[in-house]
Amino acid sequence: MRVRRLRIENFRKFRAPVVVDGFTDGLNLVCEPNETGKSTVLDALRAALFERHSAKSDRIRSFRPQGDEVAPSVELAFDVNGEEWRLTKRFLLSPSVTLEGPEGRFASDAAEEKLQGLLGFARAGNRGADDDSRGALGLLWVEQGQSFLLGSPGETARRTLEEALAGEIGAVTGGRRAKAVVAQVEKALADFYTTTGRTTGRLKQAEAAEAAARAAATERARELEQFEGVLEQLEYKRNERRRLVRDIEDPQTDADLKKLDEDIARARAAGQALEIATLAVREQSARRSTLEERRAGRDKLAVQLQAAETKVTGAAEAVSTHAEVIGRVRSSERTAALALETARSALREAETKRDQSVAERAAAERRLALASAFARLDRAEAHAAHIREREARIAASRMDAAAMDRLRQLEDAESAARAQAEAGAATLTVTLEPGAPQIFLDGTPLTEGAIRLSRPRSLSIPGVGTIAFAPPPSGEPALARLRAARRDLTDFLAGVGHETPQAARSAGRARAIDEAELLGLRTRLKAECPADAALGIPAGLDPLRGALAGVERPAPETKDAAFPAADVETPYRAARAAETEAAARREAALESLKAGELKEVALAAALERAEAERARLAADLAADRAALSDADLAAALEDARAAEARALVDCDTARRAAEGLDADGFIRRRDALRKKRDTLQSQLPELAGAVARLEEQARTLGGEGPASRKAAADEEAEAAAAALARLRSEADTLALLLKVLKEAQQDAARRYLAPVTRRIEPYVRRLLPSASLSFGEDLKPQLLTRAGREEAAEMLSKGTQEQIAILTRLAFADLLIDKGQPASLVLDDALVFADDDRFDTMMEILAEASGRMQVLVLSCRASAYRALSATRLSIRPA
């Protein structure tokens, strides 16, 4: 398809008619600045073809220039398959369309239909043309800003492409019918399984129904079982009740009860007789044992009396024996007391002697200490005198260590100043020949040697004259410093009172010696005045002087007087030991005496108690005998024993009579029988109730028809299972069918996309070396493979996406042209994101493509397209 001429009027910004003509078969370029109306040209082109002339939609209205109620009109001349066609379309006001060509002139809807047939697009919908209706040309005529879209072609375009593809590969895909079948199968399967494989819809219902039916069958079976259980239990309870009634009405029980009552009466009578006899025995035995006890008591009393008398005798003997013993103990205690007294006197004497001796020794020791102290004081006083002498000398001398240092400094300063003064001076070296005349320097005769001329000098040679030397004025500051140094030294010497430095130095040395000796003297003085513990004198000279001031210096002879050597300690220690021993003896004697006295008291008390006991016993015995004589007691006892023997015989007889009759046993048996009957009777109402209850239950449960219900539930469960199996089978069938269909679709897609893939490959390679592009079934670019790496087309850069989108369209156009379908390419402001290399490559590709199809490029970038060999068109007024 080739556009030849376009005339636009009352369309958007073109109120006045404009014309674009001069289109060639190849590459056409409309290069105008922004706002010129390039995009409007494309819009008008698209509107003329794809929009229905009669449409009144908002989009159609938007074709009008702002605010004008006019009729947008477009005239288009184009070629298809070498035939020329002219299309005139007018919108909104008296809308019309005419199409003229080799087949004649068409108007109105016929024109629209003819146009659709010629160019392969569909009738626009009510809202105007869209991607689906515009067809392949719509896809290839790319509006501004749309060139980036890597979308899937619209419905009509895709169909056209698919038909072209089918024509090329010689095999049709299933097309719409296959899609419809797949959709139907998917829809049918969706009634069984969700996309994630879970059951849903009918299958889920059937599963639920099957589970419910199974549960119901189980429940019904349980109900039937319960009902059968009720019937069984009912029969069992009825039998039980029958047995119970038989047991309650048993005549043997009555007979047994009557006999037991008689036995119980007999046993009770015998029991009473035995009880009476037993009481009689008990009474007689008590009487006999009372008498026996009385006689035994009396015998015991006599024996006790005898024993008490013996005890009294013994106690009296013990008292008299002990009296002798205690007499001996007392006398020995007295002896011990005397001995102790003697030992104590001896000890006191020895103590006195020892104390005297100790006092004498202390006095002697003090005298010795005093003598020593006085000697030390004498020496210390001598040292003190020396110290005073030295201190006086030191105080008189001013040449201390600081003064010495100062002197040294001054001397050093003076010699340094002198050296400096002399350094700036000239040297006069004098060598005199023998017999030379006398020469005078400043009045003194000149001798051989070097003379420093640091100050003005005058050399006078008698008979010759005077030679005066003056040092240079530059030496004056040094001389002044020397003078100052000498003055300082002289001032210092005057201050310390010495004529010369030598005298000052020796005075300083003498003072240093005095200071050193003073230290030694002070140490020695301190050593002579230590603290004296014996005399209680603290350290120091003054305490020593003070302590000895009021004391007479001991005579020198006492120093040698010997102490008396008599031993006072040994006798003292012996006397002490003797006293301790005597005291111990006395202590022991006192202990013995105390024990003897205690025993004496105890023995006396025992004797007293024994006598009291004997008196009591004698009185008791006498009283008892007075009440009943021994003979009377013996007779009463004999009588009581005989009565007891008789009672025992009677009791034995009664016991034998009662032995065969166990009243308790009879009563137990009777009670057991009665209780058993009561128990049975009490069970009866309960059993009757149970039977009634079960009968009622059987009636109620039976009324629901448990057996029928179970049979029905079983059959329904079976039917539900069968229905489920059928649905599962259908679901499996559908799943398999869908799987096979999808596989077939994928195979077909692969095969039928091959022509597109093949066509685009060389373009892509030129742009992106060694890359390849693959398409989805919907003809949408999907994957770019570069160096073995796959990239989703949507993830590529915007620029690359646009380039690929344009190349894809080019491939589609090639495909259509190969199949004899109308195709041409329009790009509006495309490739703005392409770099220079890519742009050039794209231009080359477009230029090549323009050899096969008409290509129209609309752009505002004149410079970018300057080098492009293309037919340049302009929008010009008509």
């Binding site: 009912l234 029969e235 049979a711 069918l737």
Partner: protein, 376 residues
């Protein structure tokens, strides 16, 4: 005397395997048989109906079922019904029969004791009924044993009423076995038997009436009651009375194409109303895909809706998809490829093969539907 011999009413049979829409009607039809029996009795001057066991389908059918039954019988007040417990509804303490006894209308009696019953015919000829009620689902002893020694007034007709088989079927302890010559041994004028659902004549005095309303496939003569006319020592005159409403029909069709399907359908149970037809068809044979689909469509989408219930078993109707079948799906393209693939899978057989066959059939059906939608 004349009476109606019937048995195996099986009231309350659930028909749980039957689809719900047919189930209710089949259940109701069993109760309707009571009215038809009464009408037949009245029409033939035989107002006594002996029911030889299995009045109810189960030992506990529930109050609703027995009340409906008794009500139906009560409404036919001029007809006397004598009901015998059978192996489906045996006598049990506190069971169905105990409960039912209290509600029995005057013209109905439950024969719960094995003792002679004077039928009080009112005519010159006395007749005594010897009933043999079953008290267990299975009893080893012959329940009619006592007929031999049963004392009846001399000259009275002895009519036996029992439920059970008269011959063993392989098993050595077949339950409720009735001696095949009981009528002769016990000097019976007629022995009315129940249990078999088809009508059978055992000897000239021993008959099974079969069920009055058919309830399953594969029975012999069903849906009848017997009108018995007995007098003196002559053999009884036994006449079949049609009672049943539904026809239970089971057929196997071996198909080689879809051509004769119409003829076969129109040949189904001639004379029977379609809505009273319960039909089980077993299809077999080898057909093309198109034929199979056409057959199924005719049977499932049309016949199935006409009859009471169509139980179609088409597992053995094997498809061999022809090239024409496949090209009808599509001459080429994806659908064709899918069809070819499924046909290949079919060839491998087994469960997968069967599934593939179903898938292919479904594909055929779906593409036809898509085509119709496309044309529409």
């Amino acid at each position: 005397m004349r009476f109606i011999h019937t048995s195996d009413w099986q009231l309350g049979k659930p028909f749980g395997r039957v689809p719900e829409e047919a189930r209710t009607v089949l259940r109701e039809a069993r109760l309707d048989a009571i009215d038809r029996l009464a009408a037949a009795a009245r029409a033939n001057g035989a107002p006594l109906v002996l029911v030889a066991g299995d009045v109810f389908d189960s030992p506990e059918p529930g109050d609703r079922v027995y009340r409906q039954a008794l009500n139906r019988m009560k409404a036919q007040a001029d007809v006397r019904f004598l009901l015998l417990p059978g192996n489906h509804d045996p006598l049990r303490a506190d069971g169905l029969w105990s409960r039912l006894a209290a509600d029995t209308p005057a013209n109905v009696s439950a024969l719960v004791e094995a003792q002679p019953l004077d039928l009080g015919t009112g005519s010159d000829e006395a007749a005594v009924l010897l009933p043999a009620p079953l008290s267990h689902k299975r009893s080893v002893a012959d329940p009619t044993q006592w007929f031999d020694a049963a004392e009846t007034p001399s000259g009275a007709l002895r009519i036996g009423l029992a439920h059970g088989s008269v011959q063993t079927f392989g098993g050595d302890a077949d339950p409720n076995l009735v001696a095949v010559d009981r009528a002769r041994r016990a000097g019976l004028a007629y022995l009315a038997l129940g249990d078999w659902h088809g009508r059978i004549k055992i000897d000239e005095r021993t008959y099974y009436s079969g069920t009055p309303e058919p309830d399953d496939f594969g029975r012999e003569v069903t849906g009848v009651a017997l009108l018995v006319d007995v007098s003196g020592s002559a053999p009884p005159q036994v006449t079949e009375l049609p009672i049943g409403r539904h026809h239970w029909l089971e057929e196997g069709w071996t198909l080689s194409g879809a051509d004769d399907i119409e003829a076969r359908i129109s040949g189904l149970a001639p004379g029977a109303a379609r809505q009273d037809l319960v039909c089980r068809l077993r299809l077999s044979g080898l057909v093309t895909l198109a034929e199979r689909v056409a057959v199924r469509r005719r049977l499932e989408d049309e016949l199935a809706h006409e009859v009471r219930w169509l139980d179609l078993i088409a597992d053995d109707l094997v498809t061999r998809p022809t090239d024409t079948d496949l090209s009808e799906i599509d001459a080429q393209g994806e659908l064709h490829a899918a069809a070819m693939r499924l046909r290949a899978m079919m060839g491998e057989g087994g469960a997968e093969g069967r599934l593939a066959a179903q898938a292919l059939e479904r594909l055929y059906v779906e593409q036809m539907r898509a085509q119709r939608a496309g044309e529409a």
